[in-house]
Subunit: 363 residues, 2 copies
């Protein structure tokens, strides 16, 4: 199967050798490396430096290390939600986020997403005038699944609204470092710190198997999050934290991200060219500035789930149809699909998109 389905990074870009050296170095010099341990101050310092490059000033006491961004979302859900709470999201929402909040069975207020500017901020304000959701969930860059990055105006307005209405924003920026073009816009955490909780991850830039992500939150929340995390998995592995800190100390991580972005830009462009060539006017889509997905709105009455069935059967192509992103009780789009471009080679992308277009012909 040629899979455009998951948000997998490309294995061939993982710095296996450099990370292996970091592991070796820590294991051979640090007797505590395999013990229970506190959150690594050195790794948090590295995150502070990363955030600075992203335009966010913070210090290491505001960095809360997690076992990946998914744990960050899950802990924020536990921190912010109580039974009967509501949340504000877009119509299309990353399913992992929906899983993270599911234990609290929140009610969803949903708003549309402009395919060019991101979350519809007027619609957000309309909701906030009438309801008090526990928080607003957004992806500032490379939205999952719609792949849009929010305009700077939308960020400013939304950050101001969060303060004005006293409703926190959970800003899931796991694709924020994967930028292919356009201005380097800061996330909302750079604009309004008290009301914006930032979720970051090393999974997309470095490697998912590290299972290391982070939150940037007001420092008074760190002890509360620590207790919540302790109850779910005690701590994030000491060896991984220290080896990752050693990797970041000794390697040019900015250069690594640049190489990853260069490779993904080639893949994005290969997918865009193939879509132009094979899909033509049968779908609307935009080439994203960030992230790992291209979102297609198909013309006409095509059912994404049916297309997926056919694509798997007759062309062995996988993707995720729009219905997978609908929230409970929210509107369902049928004719959309999310295509990942980071995992397949450009050749596999060209070939896969051509075959997918053929399947669409036959539906």
């Amino acid at each position: 199967v040629t899979s455009f389905a998951l948000g997998l990074p490309a294995e061939e870009l993982f710095p296996r050798r450099a990370y292996g050296l970091a592991l070796r170095n820590v294991l051979s010099t640090d007797p505590q490396a395999l013990q229970y341990g506190p959150s690594s101050a050195s790794l948090r310092e590295n995150v502070v430096e990363l955030m600075r490059r992203r335009g966010v000033q913070c210090d290491r006491d505001e960095v809360f290390l997690t076992s990946g961004a998914q744990q960050g979302l899950s802990l924020l859900a536990r921190l912010l939600l109580s039974p009967g709470a509501s949340i504000l999201t877009e119509h299309h929402v990353y399913p992992g986020f929906q899983q993270a909040v599911q234990p609290f069975e929140p009610r969803y207020h949903t708003v549309p997403t402009d395919r060019a500017a991101g979350i519809d901020v007027d619609a957000v304000e309309h909701v906030l005038r009438r309801f008090r959701p526990a928080f607003i969930y957004v992806n500032p860059e490379g939205h999952n699944p719609l792949s849009v990055s929010m305009s700077m105006e939308a960020r400013s307005r939304l950050a101001a609204m969060a303060s004005e209405y006293g409703v926190p924003i959970v800003e899931d920026d796991v694709y924020g470092f994967l930028r292919y073009e356009g201005p380097d816009q800061p996330p909302m955490s750079a604009l309004s710190r008290g009301h914006v909780f930032y979720v970051g991850s090393f999974s997309k830039t470095l490697a998912p198997a590290l299972r290391v992500g982070w939150l940037i939150v007001p420092r008074e929340l760190v002890p509360i999050l620590s207790v919540l995390k302790e109850s779910t998995d005690l701590d994030t592995g000491t060896l991984t934290q220290r080896a990752l800190a050693a990797y970041l100390d000794r390697n040019d991580f900015a250069g690594h991200i640049t190489r990853v972005c260069r490779a993904y830009r080639v893949r994005r462009d290969a997918m865009a060219a193939a879509l132009r060539r094979h899909f033509g006017p049968r779908a609307r889509w935009r080439s994203p500035t960030h992230g790992v997905f291209i979102w297609l709105d198909l013309e006409g009455d095509v059912d994404g789930r049916l297309l997926l069935e056919r694509a798997l059967d007759s062309a062995r192509i996988a993707f995720v149809p729009s219905e997978a992103f609908a929230v409970p009780g929210g509107p369902q789009q049928r004719n959309g699909l999310r295509l990942n471009f980071s995992h397949c080679t450009p050749a596999a992308i060209r070939d896969g998109i051509a075959r997918l277009a053929q399947v669409l012909d036959e539906v």
Copy 2:
């Protein structure tokens, strides 16, 4: 501070070199090692073999890998508890377990523990005749904190009751492989599989920083647990799983456990000798067959918390007083303390116990 407080394994026994070689081998040969990945079948096979040595027959489809035993407990809590549920525990309960169930605010039915035979099975039956708790939580070996191992008769009776009353047992066996003397008794999972959910871990035998544990559960629960785990942290790191499997494939893990037990037995005996010498009749305690703790019931009206304060202040000794193990609404013991013997050297143990006895003199 000489700390007898936490259940830390001894760092000097971690197989840093052998595990480092396993990591290196996996990183240099497996391009998927840093990618998202499914639960490792090879690691689950290794767990099946470990369980066989513990007297439990299972197969790899009944093994559910977790990010440590704490995650196992937390997922079982999510699986088995709903708001308003009650659970059955002993009066003294590992605080990490209490944290794992806390989100559901369960009501506790508590029963006493016989210091020689473990959980009071008559008292359990008395509760089960009147109530239907969501599950029973037990430590078959090296109880945390009371350090008792259940008699075989208690295991059989309790396992039979679980079936008879249809109430599952969560059997937390993280200390089950640390046996110093006495017969090698199987856990309850060997007696009644359908109603007993086993919780295991590599933290105490190998190294906590791996953050790898496992559950043995009926196979039909594995897909449900997978969804629950996905919502909290997506997966347990691929590299760790594969390196751990490689370590277990290439090394004599049974021999490693034997070496760990030999070292801990020396420490246990050092602590027991020091207690005999310095505490004499001022405390009742037993030398445990399993685990990493000695439990002291102090004679007279000594307050464990007060003793801890004084011990920290005047002798720089730490331990955990009995009140830390009381459950919400349950009975509180004031004059008990839990002493860990796995982490300090025998010399530090001898010295620390002598100083602690002096503090007790002065309270």
